[in-house]
């Protein structure tokens, strides 16, 4: 009997050579990420637990992103506590205004294929884009990891998702993952690992894979996994490793189920208010007027997303009375988009370009809306009240769809 990707990964990490789905194992943690909203809570729990030192300060990354720029009077307190915590326990990896945590964990060179990573954020599943097991946890468990360097994990069952063929020009990896979530439903992958493969996935950039891994949690998944390849090596700035040949599930492994998609059959879609699994083709909602568009977040604030949007808006103007808010996912992406003229194109079209951070996606600032307003957004959640009042309608879309909607002032298909 073969093993799934996650079984192999956890066997390697724990040394338990026969670990299989359902077993409880103790994972050795390679990296942890804590973001600014939870730092004070982690610190309190850590000290309440009676720890006096961090198991390995070099494996801890603090990232200020949800509260940058500070929008409420108590926000700066979180950063002050973060600075004190870092100084007290000798943490050196602190990003104070460099962008969104999930972007930085791979972009800044921390997470590598095969790593086991936990973060105090549900979208920690993102790092599966490079073949790492990564998952979100609460602040109490994070405090325990800081003290021990370990966490118990139930080896998850796996849903295998195979996508073959070439995506139509106006269909992005965002459309693919939204479609998958729609099919699985919001709870359909609860406690499971998602294992992605197929020629479509192989052809995708690491950035596109990141979008999919990021949103795995929206189907309830514990993690998402992609097989590392040359692109991964280039992105992580490391050589291709012969071990990566085994970073995938065996043909005869036991999967909970397998889903097959043919890329040519996929279309641009939207997640409709107020559930991520309420998926409809963009074509069915064409013409619905909108008030705002948000391009950004750890899901879709990367350079290729900005490129795609710039391509759509070049030479055009954002519709009157519509705001088009662009929040690049990181400082590096912002700088690259400055250098290659992408931000100039977006600004010329009338975009409002903000500093990298979680922005509107986390619902604290960055374009909060009110009753009766409708927003098309490239982020990962459209929950009730996520971007303002509970009477705000949030539609999740790909960057190309979002940009096209900004120009049209209504929901429309890109191109």
């Amino acid at each position: 009997m073969g093993a799934t990707y996650i079984e192999k990964l956890l066997r390697r990490n724990t040394g338990e050579k026969t670990a299989k789905a359902g077993d409880i194992v103790t994972a050795k943690v390679d990296w942890v990420m804590i973001h600014d909203i939870f730092i004070p809570f982690v610190k309190d729990k850590f000290e309440e637990m009676g720890f006096t030192q961090i198991w390995d300060p070099d494996k801890v990354v603090l990232i200020y992103d949800h509260l940058v720029p500070a929008s409420q009077l108590d926000d700066p307190r979180h950063h002050k506590i973060g600075n004190q915590f870092a100084a007290q326990y000798g943490l050196t990896h602190v990003h104070r205004s460099d962008g969104i945590c999930h972007q930085l964990m791979t972009e800044a060179g921390y997470v590598k294929p095969g790593d086991v990573v936990f973060g105090t954020d549900s979208h920690t599943t993102t790092y599966g884009c490079v073949g790492a097991f990564s998952s979100g946890i609460g602040y109490t468990e994070m405090a325990a990891i800081l003290g021990t360097g370990e966490l118990w994990v139930k080896v998850p069952e796996t849903i295998k998702i195979v996508i073959d063929g070439e995506l139509p020009e106006n269909v992005a990896s965002k459309d693919v993952i939204l479609r998958i979530i729609g099919d699985l439903t919001a709870a359909g992958a609860s406690y499971c690992a998602l294992e992605f493969s197929g020629s479509t996935v192989e052809a995708m950039s690491v950035a596109s894979r990141m979008t999919m891994a990021n949103m795995a949690i929206e189907a309830g998944a514990k993690c998402a996994l992609f097989t590392p390849d040359e692109k991964t090596a280039e992105y992580c700035n490391i050589p291709v490793s012969p071990q990566w040949a085994d970073f995938k599930g065996d043909e005869d492994a036991a999967y909970l189920k397998t889903l097959h998609y043919q890329a040519e059959e996929l279309v641009p879609v939207l997640a409709c208010p107020s559930q991520v699994d309420k998926i409809r083709p963009v074509s069915e909602l064409e013409g619905l007027t909108i008030d705002q568009v948000f391009l950004g977040s750890c899901t879709n604030g990367r350079l290729e997303d900005l490129h795609r949007a710039a391509q759509v808006v070049r030479g055009k103007k954002v519709a009157p009375f519509v705001k088009f808010i662009v929040t690049p996912a990181s400082r590096k992406i912002y700088l690259e988009a400055l250098a290659d003229g992408t931000l100039a194109t977006l600004a010329d079209a009338g975009a409002i370009i903000t500093h990298p951070g979680c922005g509107l996606c986390c619902g604290r600032t960055g374009g909060i809306l009110t009753d009766g307003e409708r927003v098309v957004a490239t982020n990962n959640r459209n929950f009730l009240g996520r971007m303002g009042t509970s009477k705000v309608e949030i539609y999740l879309a790909s960057p190309a769809t979002a940009a096209a909607c900004a120009i049209a002032g209504k929901i429309t298909i890109p191109n």
Partner: protein
């Protein structure tokens, strides 16, 4: 008896030969600016009128700049009210394009105009020889409905500028020094008129910075003659003057101040009043948590250039948040073109979209309890930039940038030399 600049503009707007301080005149207004700080209140009052109508929609300019992008459902609701009303009535409307006064200078203000703005820093328009003054919602509403209002002719104070600012000293230092000298109520109800040879040495950007801050001395308005510098700026923006007025030789001033620009040094206004002005040298070493470069006072391309020149090849101190906020979308775009945004981002600054940011202090970079901000904003009142238990120092773009690098208050000339 001759007239001052303020008197001439009021006389023209009132359609009379001459006016004197203390007279009350009904005037025809040229422009009425309002922003998201208060427009929703004006709209509420408007709807309570028996026969609401707008005298001339093209005199109105509405600008969303204070909380941009919006930070709460409450803000979003007032902005939506403003947007919907503007859309319905065809009111010229800007959203997310920058700070209101900068947008007005770039696109609307013409010499000789009389302008009401529902914002205290409307006095900035004097840099183009226009009489701009801040009003509340009620006055604004009356003017919006009738096209007219009444004005009490103010006494004028004359500031005769001589000499030239030294290298490393800015118009911001100049106006802070003047406010420090005459006090926070030193120009209450009065017009501050700037003239003299020294004025010619000031750029358009310098002049806006000077006029903009005059309300911090209590002034009703600030005025400068629209000279070649102003008219060149105007024509570069494709506009012509309404009228170019000159103060008469024998105009009467309540007081005349002589200001030698070459004697001005870099200064800061200490917490919590704009007139607590001391040489920056007296505050060296004061720890800061945040630095802010932006606002209608000091967020123009010239300020960004000066800051970038200091920052190039240096880094913002680790734990300092350095907010760089261009005053308008145009300035953002220009700074992008010139590579300034790259310099800021590489140095670790937080570059934001054009908005009022922490100068308004309700979102977009607020400071916390016990924190200290050094700012190019307009005010350092207690709690202005965030928590009531925080501290704000006002200074020039140069001093703010140097302090962001050092992590404590310092001036650009005191920074250690760049490496390499």
């Amino acid at each position: 008896m001759g007239m001052t600049l303020a008197e001439k503009i009021i006389a023209s707007a009132a359609g009379v030969e001459s006016v004197r301080p203390g007279d009350i005149h009904t005037v025809e207004l040229d422009l009425l600016m309002s922003n998201d700080g208060t427009t929703h209140l004006t709209i509420d009052m408007y709807h309570k009128l028996r026969h609401p109508h707008i005298a001339d929609v093209n005199k109105l300019v509405w600008i969303v700049d204070h909380n941009m992008p919006s930070d709460s459902p409450k803000t979003a609701a007032s902005q939506k009210k403003m947007r919907d009303f503007a859309k319905e009535n065809g009111i010229p409307f800007y959203e997310g394009k920058g700070v209101c006064h900068q947008i007005m200078m770039e696109n609307h203000v013409r010499p000789g105009q009389l302008i009401f703005g529902a914002d205290s820093h409307t006095c900035a328009y004097g840099a183009l020889g226009a009489f701009g003054t801040g009003v509340g919602c009620t006055d604004y509403l009356y003017a919006m409905v009738t096209g007219k209002s009444w004005v009490l002719v103010p006494e004028s104070l004359k500031f005769n500028l001589t000499g030239k600012l030294n290298h490393g000293v800015t118009a911001r230092d100049l106006i802070l020094t003047i406010i420090g000298r005459i006090g926070a109520n030193g120009a209450n109800y009065k017009a501050m008129e700037f003239s003299g040879e020294g004025l010619k040495t000031l750029t358009m950007s310098d002049r806006i910075a000077v006029c903009n801050l005059c309300v911090e001395a209590g002034a009703k308005t600030a005025l400068m003659e629209a000279d070649e510098v102003a008219l060149d700026y105007l024509s570069s923006r494709g506009r012509t003057p309404k009228a170019v007025f000159h103060a008469d030789e024998d105009a009467a001033y309540a007081q005349t101040y002589e200001v030698n620009l070459s004697e001005i040094v870099p200064v800061v206004a200490k917490p919590h009043f704009v007139d607590q002005v001391v040489p920056a040298a007296e505050c060296l070493g004061t720890h800061i948590d945040e630095a802010f470069l932006g606002s209608c006072n000091n967020g123009r391309i010239e300020d960004l250039r000066a800051a970038a020149a200091i920052l190039k090849g240096r880094k913002v101190a680790d734990t300092v948040r350095f907010l760089v906020v261009p005053a308008s979308g145009e300035i953002y775009r220009q700074a992008l073109e010139e590579g300034l945004l790259t310099t800021f981002m590489e140095a670790g600054a937080i570059v934001m979209n054009a908005n009022c940011s922490v100068c308004w202090g309700s979102c977009q970079g607020v400071i916390g309890e016990g924190e200290t901000l050094i700012s190019t904003g307009t005010r350092n009142f207690k709690g202005r930039a965030g928590h009531p238990g925080s501290f704000v120092y006002l200074a020039s773009a140069e001093t703010v940038t140097a302090s962001a690098i050092a992590g404590e208050i310092t001036t650009a000339d005191r920074l250690p030399k760049r490496e390499g």
